[in-house]
């Protein structure tokens, strides 16, 4: 569905300064995948998306989207993709129903078909009562649902979402995702989205592409990334005079690393936390080491990013 090779984009800021926003990204997305592109602000997520949606042309490299080259056949690409940008696709001075209907006409539906399709999407995205309202009168969540509806008018086989849920409260985010995932089922869509919400990439996407400084630094399922690049962390507290004994036991655990003692707490990185913890507690009891408390911290994608770059995802920008 998408295939890029060494995709690159520079922005010339001034005669002496060029920003290398995207540095040679090669990426393949198969039909039906749901891919999240994750990275800090300024990592090149949006620039990549803008190249794939024909908004800007690559400085170097190639990209084929829905079977067509983005540089030489942009109009073919545009007919086949849906795009929900960071802003609002619907004009603020327009009425909800008018914009949805107009979008259908733009994609070649006749008036009747466009009306019917607009009606379906108004129902599907719970916008029916708002059809006669001006877009500027909608709430943030309603407007975002309308943006998604606009992107789905022509039932594209590939949908791009650029930070779809930014600025929405948790309830509206969950609601938006319900709609997106349901539409994906119905349309058998491929979805590529950018996000800087870790939990969103974690729970929604089947594949996470981590981007930093314009390059892909990791690309796998969220659980594989976490197991491979972060692992679970065990945290146990004991009386200080038992700490050294517990450290020795912890280091015997299979795959244990980053065994760090701070104060009365011992922290251990392991591949499988829930299995390792009872094992360690049993060993401690056997040696007469009293454990005061024990926790398993499952890793987040932030831990993955931290391990890859040495920086926190939120602070990286």
């Amino acid at each position: 569905m998408i295939s890029t090779r060494a995709l690159t984009r520079d922005f010339v800021v001034s005669r002496t300064e060029t920003v290398h926003a995207v540095r040679g990204i090669s990426l393949d997305v198969e039909p039906g995948e749901l891919v999240a592109v994750l990275g800090p602000n300024g990592a090149g997520k949006t620039t990549t998306l803008r190249m794939l949606t024909t908004l800007i042309t690559p400085t170097a490299g190639t990209a084929t989207v829905a079977g067509y080259d983005v540089t030489t056949q942009p109009s073919q690409v545009r007919r086949r993709i849906g795009y929900v940008g960071q802003g609002n696709g619907a004009g603020h001075t327009q009425r909800v129903g008018d914009e949805l209907h107009g979008q259908g006409v733009i994609y070649g539906l006749d008036r009747r078909a466009a009306k019917q399709r607009a009606g379906e999407l108004l129902d599907a995205l719970e916008l029916r009562e708002l059809a006669q309202r001006k877009v500027s009168e909608l709430s943030g969540g309603q407007r975002r649902r309308l943006d998604v509806a606009m992107g789905l008018v022509h039932a594209p086989s590939l949908l791009f979402l650029d930070e779809p849920s930014t600025g929405l409260d948790p309830q509206n985010r969950a609601n938006l995702w319900d709609h997106i995932l349901r539409m994906r089922e119905e349309h058998a869509m491929t979805i590529v989205l950018t996000t800087h919400y870790l939990d969103e990439a974690d729970t929604m996407a089947e594949r996470v592409v981590v981007v930093d400084h314009g390059e892909v630094i990791a690309d796998d399922t969220a659980s594989a990334l976490k197991a491979r690049l972060a692992g679970d962390r065990l945290a146990l507290t004991v009386a200080p005079d038992h700490l050294s004994r517990l450290t020795v036991l912890a280091e015997k655990l299979p795959g244990a690393r980053e065994v760090v003692a701070v104060g009365d707490e011992l922290s251990i990185r392991v591949a499988d936390g829930p299995a390792a913890l009872p094992e360690l507690i049993a060993a401690a009891q056997h040696d007469g080491v009293p454990i005061a408390s024990a926790q398993v911290h499952r890793p987040t994608l932030d831990d993955v990013f931290l391990n890859l770059t040495g920086r926190n995802l939120r602070e990286a920008a």
Binding site: S75, G87, T93, G108, E120, D147
Partner: protein, 266 residues
């Protein structure tokens, strides 16, 4: 659960520029037609100006014009309405840049040039409405309506308006990253163009350099042509020059505007 009536490949139709232009123009007109109050308000503005400025002109310049002051001033108001309406229209596009609506349309299969041409052509509609209202209100008073000349005059205004509107959109695209510049540039051009066209006050009594400068102002030719046409004289060289000025403005405006639109995504 709704069932879907369309599938992707069925939508891949051949594109025609005229169809795209019509789509863009229809979309632009919808908010205008959906909001009759602001439409009406916009329509009345020229009348307010006419009512306030006309009597002053009549009082101070009455000697020059005699009873023909309205015959002289009504065409001015029509050109002024065109000038104000179309030179500000780029602000609508700026707003669509800010909200993201323009970006959305750039990713659709609509041709880039239709995004400009459709918008520019839409300018004719409110313009025509305003002109008809002004003429309808003034005719019972001291204004002599010559239908043939008036129709040609409106057509000329429409052509000029498309050109000026295109320039306004081009300006909006050029300054989209520092949008306050739009109004700075627009105002900087608006007033010299207006005053140096002899629209509000005749330039015959002004200094020589102003009369020379007015020769380089396309608006001067339009104003002259409109006055000639609204006095009922269609076959005059002033009309021809006005036509040339309007067509040149439209051609240049569309060229500059379309070029700007092609680069508007970056």
């Amino acid at each position: 659960m709704t069932t879907l009536t369309v599938s992707g490949p069925a939508l891949v139709v051949d594109r025609h520029l005229l169809r795209d232009i019509r789509i863009v123009m229809t979309r632009e007109l919808k908010p205008v037609l959906r909001d009759p109050f602001s439409l009406l308000f916009g329509m009345i503005q020229p009348l307010v100006f006419l009512a306030l400025f006309g009597p002053l002109l009549s009082g101070s310049m009455g000697g020059t014009f005699g009873a023909g002051v309205w015959q002289w001033f009504v065409p001015s108001i029509l050109v002024m309405t065109t000038l104000f309406g179309t030179s500000t229209t780029g602000a609508n596009l700026l707003f669509e840049f800010q909200t993201g609506a323009h970006e959305r349309m750039l990713v659709t299969p609509l041709s880039r040039s239709s995004l400009l041409i459709g918008r520019a052509l839409k300018e004719m509609v409110p313009l025509f409405g305003q002109a008809v209202i002004v003429i309808a209100v003034m005719t019972p008073f001291a204004f002599d309506l010559h239908v043939g000349g008036a129709l040609v005059g409106l057509a000329l205004l429409a052509v000029f308006g498309v050109g000026l509107g295109s320039f306004s959109y081009a300006l909006a695209i050029a300054v989209r990253k520092q949008d306050w510049m739009f109004w700075v540039v627009q105002q900087t051009f608006l007033f010299p163009l207006m005053i140096l066209s002899g629209m509000l006050l005749p330039l015959e009594t002004g200094p020589g350099w102003m009369r020379v400068a007015s020769k380089f102002n396309p608006l001067s030719y339009l104003v002259d042509a409109e006055r000639t046409l609204f006095s009922g004289d269609v076959w005059s060289s002033a009309v021809l020059w006005g036509l040339v000025a309007a067509i040149v403005t439209a051609a240049l405006g569309l060229t500059v505007g379309i070029r700007a639109m092609l680069r508007s995504a970056a």
